[in-house]
Symmetry: C2
């Protein structure tokens, strides 16, 4: 049972609150559980069917017109484990009900439009869990830290993001934003491990070190972005992520809790079940070949 693993309401513990200060979050912490790694891995597997059923209900009810859906935004420094979250949490759900978008540095065409232009078409449709690996928040993180956009434009974007998220919320999208929080020491270890293994070289990008050197500026940009865009309708969660197993099981629980709030349910049939049974039974002897 979940109660055995979680000793407290992890969603509430990781939810950003009034007066939130990123500096107080310990990337090594494991709020809500006293369990160890192997128990965490077991809990992840145990709760997967719980997540799948909620997702399948969400997907099923959309077929009869329900507009609700979930958008999970993942933001983090490089090597913080976004890919692992996608693989171990989201990829365990029904692929038809999942829409994953990995946002890269904007193309020339994308740069010629407003920063939300490329995001709009990736908002999940009814019944779908959308996952953004990076997102419109890059436009107030790297763009701010690197000075790719002037301060007044960054300022404008906070408001534009709030407006955008409010609008899609009204359309039926539950927006959930998650920062995976690692320490610079942990990042160094993970980058070095990519450089230790020829099968992982392709995951390494020299530019990651350039960003790494700007760590304090990034943390300040995260703090500001969270302060300016957190709301009850589109909440931020900050998940300590030095322990990969903890981050995965915590994100899984947050997603389950968020989905459960949508109370998805198996839709009633919009046809006569008995009559349809008879139609199938009657349609035998189709004589082929």
């Amino acid at each position: 049972m979940a109660q055995q693993f979680w000793t407290d309401d992890v969603s509430a513990l990781l939810r950003v609150r009034e007066g939130f200060d990123l500096r107080e979050i310990d990337p090594d912490a494991r709020p809500g559980t006293e369990a160890r790694k192997h128990e965490g891995e077991r809990e992840l597997v145990r709760a997967t069917p719980e997540l799948r059923v909620l997702q399948e209900k969400l997907f099923a009810q959309s077929r009869l017109g329900d507009q609700r859906r979930l958008l999970v935004v993942l933001q983090a420094m490089d090597a913080a484990g976004k890919g692992g979250i996608v693989n171990h949490v989201f990829a365990q759900t029904e692929p038809y009900g999942l829409a994953l978008t990995a946002f890269k540095a904007p193309t020339e065409e994308e740069r010629s439009h407003d920063f939300l232009w490329r995001v709009e078409p990736r908002v999940p449709g009814p019944g779908i869990i959308g996952v953004f690996d990076r997102s419109h928040y890059e436009d107030v993180l790297v763009q701010k830290v690197r000075g790719y956009a002037p301060p007044e434009e960054i300022e404008r974007r906070y408001g534009a993001i709030v407006d955008f998220e409010r609008r899609i919320t009204a359309e039926g999208v539950r927006v959930v934003k998650i920062m995976l929080h690692i320490s610079p020491e942990e990042q160094a270890e993970r980058l070095l491990s990519r450089l230790d293994d020829p099968e992982k070289y392709w995951k390494y990008n020299p530019g990651d070190v350039d960003e790494r050197l700007l760590w304090p500026a990034y943390m300040e940009a995260f703090q500001t972005a969270i302060d300016r865009t957190d709301s009850p309708e589109a909440p931020w969660y900050v998940v300590p992520a030095n322990a990969k197993w903890y981050a995965r099981v915590a994100v899984q629980r947050i997603v389950i809790d968020e989905l459960a709030k949508l109370s998805p349910h198996w839709p009633e049939p919009d046809f006569d079940v008995a009559a349809e049974r008879q139609r199938v039974v009657d349609s035998q002897d189709l004589r082929w070949p």
Copy 2:
């Protein structure tokens, strides 16, 4: 070992050959193996890492400019098990390297364009395995059987499909087309099972019985579509699918064999590994908070 499960080259056995006659394919057959269900389920799990590594290499090499990718087209009568194939074969791979598209009845906008208009943007990008659950083949199957398009337009489409697949092949897309072949009796059982379970009602569509009644016409349309569009560059496979476990493990093997032909490999790094290690090591003490 794969040899223990497969006693013959299943890809070669299921590959459509000169003089192919759909009427001679037994949906209950299990070419290439004498194993039973539990062994098939074990083989599926055993071979999954083999598939994942091939896919990850394909994805990795695309990062350095390689254009190759795979497009798997799944076509079948309703309830033939496309969804199970997606869940048990493709969803076991890396989600970043997978692009699933489920084509529905065309929207009004889609109908106002050529039938390939909606397909073009769904062709997978370099390094990606694209899966089409239904496809442009619906435009020579349901559209033909139902008479939604006149015969001369259907005739034109066979050629247009061949041209389209030849063009994307030249761009680096390996096109593989798979028909899951069930019997009408097996379909009836599966439709009835959906009507037995309130949690599956949403998967049932009364229209499926309308199509079912046209079984012989559909089989003829499949035969013609395969005859007209099979080629060494864009081959058809017909997979007996009355046994779900067989269809899954056979499709998995076909996909592995097709990926292996692309010989994907871990790319060489385009940076100096030792110098990058030093950069990471030197970037300590980032003093935050």
